[in-house]
């Protein structure tokens, strides 16, 4: 009998028992291929060049994420193969006693890994290629592009990458296996299952103390990311504190609970001795006892999955939903007024001089007459004074804000100031509310929630400001909603509106035009925009300062693109995390069932009927699956709250639907794995 024959026999046997592991491997390969082939799916889409830029970014990020995904899947494969090999100790012992060399045993494992690798890669790639055809429809839908034509897509690049990455993983597995085989001693291999299982009853008092301490620590970690976020998280690095505290306390919660639950159930005599409950709970507690570490990892991975999925979905929703509100006009052109400091930036004196001309005159110099293109437009100026910074507008409240809210924002940024009449023109074209001000009043418009919160502190304390030499007091004791620059999300951190009369033109910083085209066709709008962009190629451009272009088409494309980007990234990481963690659970449960075959046989001999046994099995698996998920869900409630705080600029009104979507995802994948595990286990313990 050749080595290869032995290997293939072994695989055939394991296929039956660990189908779920092979299934996960295949799924992993397929997902890896699908997400790496997105680039080639977008080739067929009829999209504009700026969308291509976003697609490019997305492809790069997905490919970056693939490294991480490969790491997670590699971890799963190495963990699972070590786990499966440990169960074969006796088999290796027999090989060795029959005189087989360790090298040859390693060869058997080597062929096994190669066979598994080839099969899983081939089937996985096949599945991936099929799935990617579905994926291309999703991609087209995401980018709101028409599928010009359907075509069968095969990405050889993604295919090679998949083979390469998984090839490396399998090589690492082989190395691990060889090292493991080299290390083992014959006596340990032969006597594996003679070692009796030691049932350690943990000290209940210690467990209770550890449990209480962990709960308190976890509570503090929760507090850090929610209620106390402004005091505890001041620098970006601080975010690791609650994460580490949370992870460690999760571990100890599992550790202590595994001891406590059994004790608690045992004390409920009626429940404990009812039916097969004694057996069920004993089984469970020994299972959880020996898997505290992996339970922790699984629970944390589920937590990350839930957060990634729900945050990315809500991010996508809010990004695309607010477009009409955030980009109410077709185009915004802005020229910043430059001074001599710009010489160093590569601008010449002529350009600096002409930067004061304003948008309209500059464009006229290029024979581009705005009136020919825009059916309506408004022109406005905004101003900056170097000695009126964000810190200045907070006044005496600066220290309080720095200490109690955050020290992470740039306090010395000069404030942007605009005339009331200019603002009202903008508000009119944007369909926003118009305002009036008295001679000694100012007001602030903003739409970035966390900045509004900070500014409101100053406004509530009636902070007076000295602008252009005039003392002004706030008209309202809060920021009013609004913005002057169109953007993909709520990022206006505050613009100060002042009465027209007090403005000193020497502080002019920007001249802008906001306009609506005659045409509604996006195609033609884009053509006009192309003309403006191409002005840079005009020889005259060396004398002028060209306007920045901010248009609705760009913002919408960027939003759609970014929305698609976070969705795909979220789905990619979320699914991989989910299947990796649930596969470990399933694998543990299945080997457990194989090991406990005898116990179930004995239960049958004692007269337990199939229904009772299946019920006990179902409960064991259900509790084993639900326990880490439950803790992950509790974590996620706080995790998502934190995420939505971070991404509040995008608006968090869409949180609920994305949480429901996430729940559906988890129920399908997690529930699916649970069901398969239960059915396979039932089959394993069935009497033949």
């Amino acid at each position: 009998m050749t080595t290869i024959k032995l290997s293939s026999r072994n695989i055939k046997k394991s296929f039956k028992d660990y189908a779920i592991y092979f299934f996960t491997l295949i799924l992993g390969v397929a997902i890896f291929y699908v997400f790496n082939s997105i680039e080639s799916q977008t080739v067929l889409l009829d999209v504009t060049s700026s969308t291509y830029e976003v697609i490019d970014l997305m492809t790069n990020m997905l490919s970056g994420a693939s490294g991480f995904v490969a790491f997670i899947l590699g971890f799963l494969i190495i963990y699972a193969s070590r786990f499966l090999i440990k169960r074969r100790n006796k088999e290796f012992g027999i090989y060795m006693l029959l005189g087989m060399s360790k090298r040859k045993i390693s060869m058997i494992l080597f062929f096994e890994t190669i066979l598994i690798g080839i099969i899983s890669l081939a089937v996985g790639l096949g599945l991936g290629i099929l799935l990617s055809q579905l994926m291309s429809m999703l991609v087209a839908n995401m980018f709101e592009a028409d599928m010009t034509k359907y075509e069968f897509i095969f990405s050889s690049k993604a295919c090679i990458k998949t083979i390469l990455y998984f090839g490396i993983m399998y090589v690492i597995v082989m190395l691990f296996n060889t090292i493991n085989v080299g290390k083992c001693k014959l006596i340990d291999l032969i006597q594996t299952n003679k070692k009796s299982e030691t049932v350690k009853m943990k000290n209940p008092v210690l467990c209770t103390i550890v449990f209480i301490i962990s709960i308190i620590a976890l509570g503090y970690a929760y507090y850090m990311v929610t209620g106390g976020i402004n005091e505890t998280i001041k620098t970006p690095e601080d975010i690791f504190k609650p994460i580490i505290i949370g992870a460690i306390s999760t571990f100890f919660i599992f550790w202590s609970l595994s001891g406590l639950i059994l004790k608690a159930v045992m004390s409920m005599k009626n429940l404990y001795v009812k039916g097969l409950n004694t057996f069920t709970f004993r089984q469970l507690s020994s299972k959880i006892n020996t898997t505290v570490f992996s339970m922790t990892i699984i629970s944390l991975m589920l937590f990350v999955t839930i957060c990634i999925l729900s945050s990315s979905l809500s991010l996508k929703n809010s990004m695309t939903a607010n477009l009409d509100e955030l980009a109410p006009a077709d185009i915004q052109l802005t020229i910043s007024v430059k001074d001599d400091e710009w010489l160093e930036q590569g601008y010449n004196e002529k350009q600096i001089e002409n930067s004061k001309l304003g948008v309209k005159k500059t464009l006229e110099a290029f024979d581009f007459n705005i009136d020919n293109y825009f059916k309506e437009y408004v022109e406005y100026n905004s101003y900056r004074i170097d000695d009126l910074t964000f810190a200045d507008s907070l006044g005496d409240n600066l220290e309080y804000v720095k200490n109690n809210i955050t020290s992470m924002i740039p306090y010395n940024m000069p404030e942007e100031i605009i005339k009331l009449s200019d603002y009202n023109k903008i508000a009119k074209i944007y369909n926003n509310e118009e305002y009036t001000l008295n001679q000694d009043e100012y007001m602030i418009i903003a739409d970035y929630d966390s900045m509004i919160a900070i500014r409101n502190i100053a406004l509530e304390s009636n902070q007076e400001l000295t602008i252009f030499g005039h003392k002004l007091k706030p008209k309202y004791n809060e920021c009013k909603d609004g913005f002057i620059e169109m953007a993909g999300n709520h990022i206006n951190s505050g613009v100060i509106i002042v009465p027209d009369e007090i403005v000193d033109e020497q502080y002019l910083a920007f001249n802008s035009i906001i306009g609506n085209y005659y045409t509604n066709s996006l195609e033609e709008q884009r053509k006009i925009q192309e003309q403006l962009i191409n002005l840079i190629n005009n020889p005259l451009s060396v004398e002028y300062s060209l306007p920045n272009i901010n248009s609705r088409v760009d913002i919408s494309e960027a939003s759609i693109g970014l929305g698609a980007l976070v969705t795909f990234l979220g789905l990619y990481l979320g699914i991989v995390f989910l299947i990796a963690s649930v596969a470990i659970l399933a694998l543990k449960e299945l080997t457990e069932s194989t090991d406990n075959k005898e116990r179930y046989k004995m239960l049958r001999k004692l007269g337990a009927d199939e229904k009772m046994i299946n019920k006990s099995l179902f409960r064991q698996i259900a509790i084993f699956f639900i326990f880490p998920l439950l803790i992950a869900i509790i974590h996620s409630i706080f995790g998502i709250t934190f995420c939505s705080y971070i991404i509040s600029t995008f608006g968090n009104e869409q949180l609920l639907p994305s949480i429901i979507m996430t729940a559906i995802f988890i129920v399908i994948i997690y529930g699916g794995y649970f069901l398969i595990t239960y059915l396979c286990s039932k089959n394993i313990i069935k009497e033949k």
Binding site: L6, K13, K90, I94, L97, L98, G99, L186, I190
Partner: protein
């Protein structure tokens, strides 16, 4: 008759310095070629440890074990594999058959590891299967066989390589009395007709009565020795029972 196995002042300690267990305590004896030796002793007497040391599953703390003149306590790597492959047959209490392989494949594996040709393998497997009465289970998998059949397959695997010595660790431990008797008859046959040297560890007097010599071990030392000689199995069995009672009696005094 030549000596096939020589145990020379073997000691085996377990545990740390503070709590040292002497599993084998300066143990010495010899087994001649074509002998069928049973080793008896209560649980914890060190008999399985001794077998593990002889089979190179475990390592001795001090002393030497010679098989066919070769000191196996010094074997390493390739020569150790060669020793296990060519000179040793091992039968376990729980059979240790590979359940992915059929009976035929389980037996032939021992030969294919030695790179013996398929034709030769077929001849030898069929031959031994005939002799041990397992011809009709050759194509079955272990889970389709009875305990007795499995143990005879395991015995076939142990002797098919014509080893210098076959070691059996409680071979009847998992068998009912009928299967036990059939297996022991097979051992008798192997020993008498095929001249196989057998060293068997057992705690069952009936089982031991099939041997030509019984060595009793207590606390890691040789306690007594019985030789069957020309006496009938029945008489030999009675003698064994006497020693076991003596052993057990003493043991009972401890409680």
């Amino acid at each position: 008759m030549s000596t096939i196995l020589k145990i020379d002042k073997v000691e085996k300690y377990y545990g740390s310095k503070s709590s040292l267990t002497k599993a084998l305590d300066n143990l010495s004896f010899e087994v001649e070629n074509k002998e069928f030796v049973a080793i008896m002793g209560a649980s914890g007497s060190g008999k399985t440890t001794l077998l593990n040391c002889i089979s190179t599953i475990d390592k001795v703390t001090s002393g030497h074990i010679f098989v066919g003149g070769e000191d196996i306590t010094r074997l390493k790597g390739k020569s150790l594999n060669k020793f296990r492959r060519e000179k040793l047959g091992f039968i376990f209490q729980d059979f240790n058959l590979l359940d992915t392989l059929t009976a035929y494949e389980n037996i032939s594996l021992a030969l294919s590891i030695q790179n013996i040709g398929a034709k030769e393998i077929e001849k030898r497997v069929n031959d031994i299967a005939n002799k041990l009465g397992i011809k009709d289970v050759l194509n079955k998998y272990p889970y389709q066989m009875s305990g007795g059949q499995k143990q005879r397959v395991a015995a076939s695997r142990a002797i098919i390589t014509n080893p210098q010595i076959v070691l059996a660790d409680e071979p009847t431990g998992s068998l009912d009395s009928k299967s036990s008797r059939m297996l022991l008859e097979s051992f008798d046959y192997l020993n008498e007709k095929l001249n196989t040297t057998i060293l068997m560890v057992t705690h069952d007097s009936f089982c031991a009565s099939y041997a030509s010599r019984v060595i009793f071990i207590k606390d890691g030392k040789v306690f007594n020795e019985l030789i069957k000689g020309n006496s009938s199995r029945k008489d030999f069995f009675d003698k064994i029972i006497d020693v076991v009672t003596l052993l057990g009696g003493e043991e009972n005094d401890n409680y």
